[in-house]
Amino acid sequence: MLFQPVNKNYHEFCIDRDPDLCISCKVCVRQCSYQAHFFDEARQKVVHDNTKCIGCHRCEALCPTAALNIRNKPSDFRTNKLWRPVFLQNIYKQADTGGVLLAGMGSPVDIPVYWDRMLLDASQVTNPSIDPLREPMELKTFLGAKPRKISVENDKNGKPSLKTKLSPQIELEVPIMFAAMSFGAINFNLHQAMARAATETGVVYNTGEGGLHKSLYKYGRNTIVQVASGRFGVHLDYLKAGVGIEIKVGQGAKPGIGGHLPGEKINDKVSETRMVPIGSDAISPAPHHDIYSIEDLLQLIFALKEASEYKVPVAVKIAAVHNVAAIASGIVRAGADIVTIDGMRGGTGAAPAMIRDNVGIPIELALAQVDQRLRDEGIRNQASIVAAGGIRCSADVVKAIALGADAVYIGTATLIAVGCTICGRCYTGKCPWGIATNDPKLSKRQNPDIAAKKLTNLIHAWGHEIEEMLGGMGLNSIESLRGNRDKLRGVGLSDTELDILGIKHAGR
């Protein structure tokens, strides 16, 4: 097809179909929710339209004869370090539509990944390493406010007991939680899988802001319920359903803005859970319009504590932004028991691309600064810190904890575990892997039994790896690593970066 407009010619992907291998079985036609593959009646064979391919690799994975390969389109614009192809393509699209560029998943832009620039320590000879296959290793983590000091009293037989009244805590077997991804953004099968995997592994999952389907209330001991500006599905049973309540103020992928769950994704079950009409957009305003100050935040934190009768900790989630340390200090002083910091590489179902790729700061820097600030102010015990946004492997978890996190959230990694290929079209509702879609035909591609098993495996695997790394450092408890920045060294970092991270350069 010649004479296509320029934006049609410069599509992103090419579908390579090996004609010798293709048997025109139409598996790809059925699997592709973007209609990139189709059966040509005239030629009686399966053909494709490259312009429609989004690069999800579903067809390639399911092709029974391995006839398909998805590649980046090899044709290039003239090399230009300033006007990289993405800018041209975006301008073409916006010139056509006048639309705001919408993106899915975390930011793909090339900003430093500090996890990769930090290295862990290990014991050699002195302070020997510990073999986790032989010795007990403690990964158990409690999230919530800790007392400044504890007092213990002995009964007449000399048996000690704790006199201090402890604040409510969330107990985790492994310091990893499934991040807030709302029912609506992802489908019910995956919510169920997260709930079951969290229960199986002794961790928790976060409902996200779309409410909690009534059939999942039974997993409440492994659930954090989220309250965001839209207050979807928020009512008193919901607030009492979990072991924690999280106020979502911001999200790393889109600091400072709200969210619109498009009407296309609101089917009967989502509608029932969010308590909004079918097909209507579910709009979360940018701020909570009842929170314009730290005092207002305090008011909501204590409204939620009153509603849950002070039985569960209340968390506040913010995006990592420039003044994150001061904001976190205010949040802790407002009475939050947990502060969740979401870095700029955090995922999203939908965010304006300009916001996602240009607003916020990396989690590593934010985390180090928040931990340091709360320590300096003597209030670190009043709240746990949870780090989120771009945690890719268990070493990232270990590094986050050494930088001062109590636990981490994993969102993108959770989705990858069930087959996500980060094609980044979550907002279309057509996810070919059956993840970010509520289309019944597509969501069936996620079997909750298999998904729960995969998530359970992931937590177990990372847990083992964390034990190995801890043992190697001569530590037998995750508590001994928390905020222990002496276990980290930087490579290739400037003095400023080292100073912000609070670590020494490798070799020192």
Partner: protein, 252 residues
Amino acid sequence: MTKREQRTLAAGRTYYRQFNEEIRALVREGVTDFVIRECNGQRYLATALEGDLTFDIHGVPGQDLAAFMRGPKIRVRNNAQDGVGNTMDGGRIIIEGLAGDVIGYAMRGGEIFIKGDVGYRVGIHMKAYLDHQPKIVVGGKAGDFLGEYMAGGIILLLGMFSDKPDAPVAGRSLGTGMHGGVIYVRGEVPEHQLGPGLHAQPVDSEDLKVIGALVEDYAKELKLDSKEIMSENFVKIRPFSHRPYGNLYVPC
């Protein structure tokens, strides 16, 4: 009718946390009707309470009165502060004076009847779902951002019992981003006070039926003359789309 048991409590200088714990304990014991005297701004009264309870509050209750509430009926004999009926699910709140900012934020059911003026950001993100149809009636005038992001339910603004003779009936950005529900205003509302894309339209007979029933209920609770309230014209503000931002984006 369930068995009623009344209790009178003096809020006085008791801190809200103890006071609310006392109320919750009494509810568990079977007390259904509370008279609260000497209320001095205690926060979170009736927050997250459920069922057929009544509260007769003398004095001024504090922030977040009846947040997340589902069922109880509350009468405030004086003014109320900010955050009344935050994310409330059901029940009825009658305020015989005026009320502050952020009334009925994200409320999903029940009624809030205020005799006098209200502050800013009232009825933001109210939403309806099936038989949950929240309603706010304001006898006085409203500040800015009334019904912003409204997703369902009814706001009725009368502008009659106001302490602000020179103020417009509603402040600026009325109904901005609304994508459900309806706002009725007695008399006229200046067009420049409305959010982008919105217009005040004349009411039809169906609307008048809805307004009439609501006014009847409101007037009865506040001992007002419903005929006088209905003696003026009404206009309505409806969303221009249930997806106001549906065409804002292009995939990148």
